[in-house]
């Protein structure tokens, strides 16, 4: 048995696969040992041995955004004994879940039955820690699992076994203020070249207005991921390829530098108090994930209805294969220690596939494809957006560039600590690309990754 985190590039080369076999076997041994220690029951199911199934209450951990999901399930399933616990959902990479599971593993009790996490990389530690139960070995029907959008559950798949389910997708699109664009006679840019040119026009014709921000921790995922910059190609269970100075990286970084220099791109985060106070009403364009529409414009900035529209993310003119980035999209994990896997699995299946929650209530673009139609109809019926956002979102969901993986180390934290302070101090992103590469390399190695160029 080998353990392998599926990602782009993984498994492409049999030689590379062989190189990782020893490491993978070691990880597998640890996983097997931890799993064996954590269980102790009998009746293996596809190599997984559940603890004695005594039934009873199941405990689910959710963040505040997913709280309505658990409450709705309880309302619809009154016979299930459900204890709902709210936590930070590992927001901003807090690692709360990993911390607690590490402690539960030591005390050998306390694990929740089902957990939501806002991070997509939980399987990288949760599987070796023996926390997660396999979902595709007879636990959830294959017909159900086939409903997820292509590639959506890749971050959850280890050695071909599924260990979590993706809640939502977060592909990037181009959000823009439709009335302003129209009244100023601007065309929505289709290419990055047009985007930069528009930024240069805005700088002279409407100074103060913004076409984006480079101050978010998400900046690498919104721009450099979309631009096919290979800074984070997970190539094996514990190996990553890091190249931040390729032409794909430098041309996108140069675009950001140009627009930062002419002040049409902010250097503060859309979540900062100064952005909300000084820049929220100056947004003309804002590349960002699918959830920016509801969470940022509607909830945080209170942008009035009828202004915000979505368009496909620009592409480089010479690049025939469209690509976008991804920012977020949570996952649900089922505990391998659950004594009531039946109810826990039922909750997990319902919360990820039900039209009542994913289609009608969930704020994020559903990862489970059959409910996307309901979700998009719900967005349209809200009358908040200027025009129909369904087309751009649906198109972006299938264009996320697969060359950027989900490693255990946080790309957002690395960017925030390495590049953002320099950007604030006036340095160019292009000049900091080597520093970024060194920082990714250091962090990847410190978490046990083999780093290749």
């Amino acid at each position: 048995m080998t353990v392998r985190v599926r990602a782009t590039g993984a498994g492409r080369s049999s030689g590379r696969r062989g190189r990782y076999a020893g490491l993978a076997a070691g990880v597998a041994a640890v996983l097997a040992a931890v799993t064996a220690c954590g269980n102790g029951g009998s009746g293996a199911q596809g190599g997984f041995e559940p603890v004695p199934q005594t039934g009873g209450k199941i405990t689910v951990w959710v963040d505040s955004t997913r709280l309505p999901a658990a409450q709705l399930y309880q309302q619809q399933h009154p016979a299930v004994q459900l204890e709902i616990v709210t936590y930070d959902g590992d927001a901003n990479g807090s690692n709360y879940l990993q911390t607690k599971v590490s402690l539960f593993n030591r005390t050998r009790s306390g694990w929740p039955d089902v957990v939501f996490s806002s991070q997509n990389n939980e399987a990288t530690w949760a599987v070796p820690a023996g926390f997660t139960a396999p979902l595709d070995k007879g636990r959830i029907p294959a017909a159900t699992l086939s409903g997820w959008s292509a590639g959506a559950n890749d971050p959850c798949t280890v050695d071909g076994t599924l260990y979590c389910l993706r809640n939502d997708l977060a592909p990037t699109v181009l959000w823009y203020n439709a009335p302003l664009m129209s009244s100023w006679g601007y065309q929505v840019p289709k290419t990055w070249e047009e985007y930069q040119a528009l930024g240069q026009r805005v700088a002279t014709e409407h100074p103060g207005y913004l076409v984006g921000t480079a101050g978010d921790n998400f900046t690498p995922e919104i721009y450099l991921w979309a631009g096919k910059c290979g800074a984070n190609e997970i190539t094996g269970p514990k190996s990553v390829k890091v190249t931040t100075t390729s032409p794909a990286c430098t041309r996108m970084a140069a675009l950001l530098d140009t627009l930062v220099r002419n002040r049409t791109m902010a250097t503060s985060s859309v979540f900062s108090s100064d952005f909300a106070k000084n820049a929220a009403d100056k947004i003309l364009l804002l590349p960002g994930p699918s959830w920016f529409g509801g969470s940022v414009f509607q909830e945080s900035f209170k942008t009035p209805a009828g202004q915000i529209a979505a368009a496909p993310l620009p592409q480089w003119a010479a690049d025939p294969a469209p690509s976008v980035g991804n920012v977020g999209g949570g996952t649900w994990l089922l505990s391998a220690h659950s004594a009531n896997l039946k109810d826990a699995t039922d909750f997990l299946t319902w919360v990820t596939t039900s039209d009542e929650y994913q289609g009608e209530v969930s704020p994020g673009y559903p990862a489970y494809a059959p409910v996307v139609k309901t979700w998009l109809a719900k967005q349209s019926s809200s009358k908040y957006y200027a025009g129909d956002i369904a087309g751009p979102l649906r198109g972006a969901a299938s264009q996320v560039w697969p060359g950027w993986g989900y490693g255990q180390f946080s790309q957002e934290a690395i960017w925030a600590a390495t590049v953002t302070p320099g950007l604030t101090a006036g340095r160019t992103i292009v000049s900091m690309l080597p520093d970024w590469q060194a920082a990714i390399t250091d962090h990847a190695r410190s978490t046990g990754y083999e780093v290749g160029p």
């Binding site: 901003n92 690692n95 990993q98 911390t99 590490s102 530690w125 820690a129 101050g215 921790n217 250097t267 503060s268 985060s269 979540f271 900062s272 108090s273 100064d274 909300a276 106070k277 000084n278 957002e412 934290a413 960017w415 925030a416 600590a417 953002t420 302070p421 604030t424 101090a425 250091d442 190695r445 410190s446 978490t447 046990g448």
Partner: protein, 302 residues
């Protein structure tokens, strides 16, 4: 004069049987808590530091792993720089403010100022840092005008990495110095008025009195303050951790050694290396305390 014999069972007889038992009981309660929450956890940390994940003896390998981590020397440098800023400012300003306070002739003003000094200390550590996070954000700060005059327009500019030692010093001083000012003020009150009067008659001014009489007599209190402040300073954690959260990572979550230890324990699931860093901090704190005590004659009888 005659002395009546004490009847049997009087308190003095019982003291003879177990002298000072009430004091021992109070001390015993403290000793039990010290052992439960101080000595045993410390021993547990030492055990972790010298074993591996399989509970086998690992020698100094955990210490070596910590020292070879790319963040280690950066964190050592950050903590060292912070300690210099923190200890110098603490000694200079605490002693200076206590001396000024001691010279206030109107007792009402003295009481009011002592109370004001002490208020920040009443806030818990995390709450104090949160107060400062608002103070340092120009978009919400009540002193945003001052921040803008100083050239800071955004929170990101204020919390630039180069500013962190000073910012942490300001936060720590605001939080903890008030209590020390009150303590040093109390020590100043213990200096004999006759001594100060004699100095004045000999022609000593305020500065000479402070420099030649009061500060030398405060030496032990200053040493005590430095020992505790040093130990506290090496354990810098809450300030950078909250600032890292508030600045969405700009301040870095591996700024201090304690943060690095926390990262090893809960990001890398490597409790043994985390414990090794904790033990290093303990040893450094004990060695520095020992040096200060030995060189200052801290335990010498007056």
């Amino acid at each position: 004069m005659t002395t009546a014999p004490r009847p049997a069972g009087t308190p003095s007889r019982r003291r003879g049987f177990w002298p000072g038992r009430a004091g021992h009981l109070f001390v015993a309660a403290y000793v039990v808590l010290l052992i439960a929450f101080g000595v045993i956890p410390t021993g547990y940390a030492v055990y972790f530091a010298f074993t591996d994940a399989g509970d086998t003896f690992a020698g100094f390998s955990n210490f070596a792993e910590a020292a070879t981590d790319f963040r280690y020397y950066g964190a050592v440098g950050h903590v060292a720089l912070y300690l210099v800023c923190w200890l110098v400012s603490l000694v200079v300003f605490v002693v200076g403010l206590a001396l000024l306070l001691h010279r206030l002739t109107w007792s009402g003003a003295g009481k009011a100022v002592r109370f004001l000094y002490y208020i920040p200390g009443a806030l818990a550590g995390a709450a104090s840092v949160l107060v400062w996070l608002f103070m340092l954000d120009p978009s919400v700060s009540p002193v945003s005008a001052l921040l803008r005059v100083a050239g800071f327009g955004t929170f990101g500019q204020v919390v630039a990495p180069g500013h962190l030692p000073v910012l942490f010093t300001i936060i720590a001083f605001w939080t903890g110095a008030g209590g020390w000012i009150v303590v040093v003020y109390g020590a100043l009150n213990n200096i004999s008025p006759e001594l100060l009067e004699a100095a004045r008659i000999d022609g000593a001014g305020a500065w000479q009195t402070a420099w030649r009489i009061q500060i030398p007599l405060l030496r032990k209190w200053i040493v005590y303050m430095v020992i505790l402040a040093f130990a506290g300073g090496t354990q810098l954690f809450v300030e950078p951790q909250l600032l890292s959260q508030a600045s969405v990572g700009v301040a870095g979550r591996d700024y201090s050694l304690n943060q690095l230890s926390y990262d090893f324990a809960f990001q890398n699931d490597n409790v043994n290396t985390a414990a090794a860093i904790s033990v290093e901090l303990l040893v450094v704190g004990l060695v520095v305390a020992g040096v200060f005590v030995a060189r200052s004659g801290f335990f010498d009888a007056d």
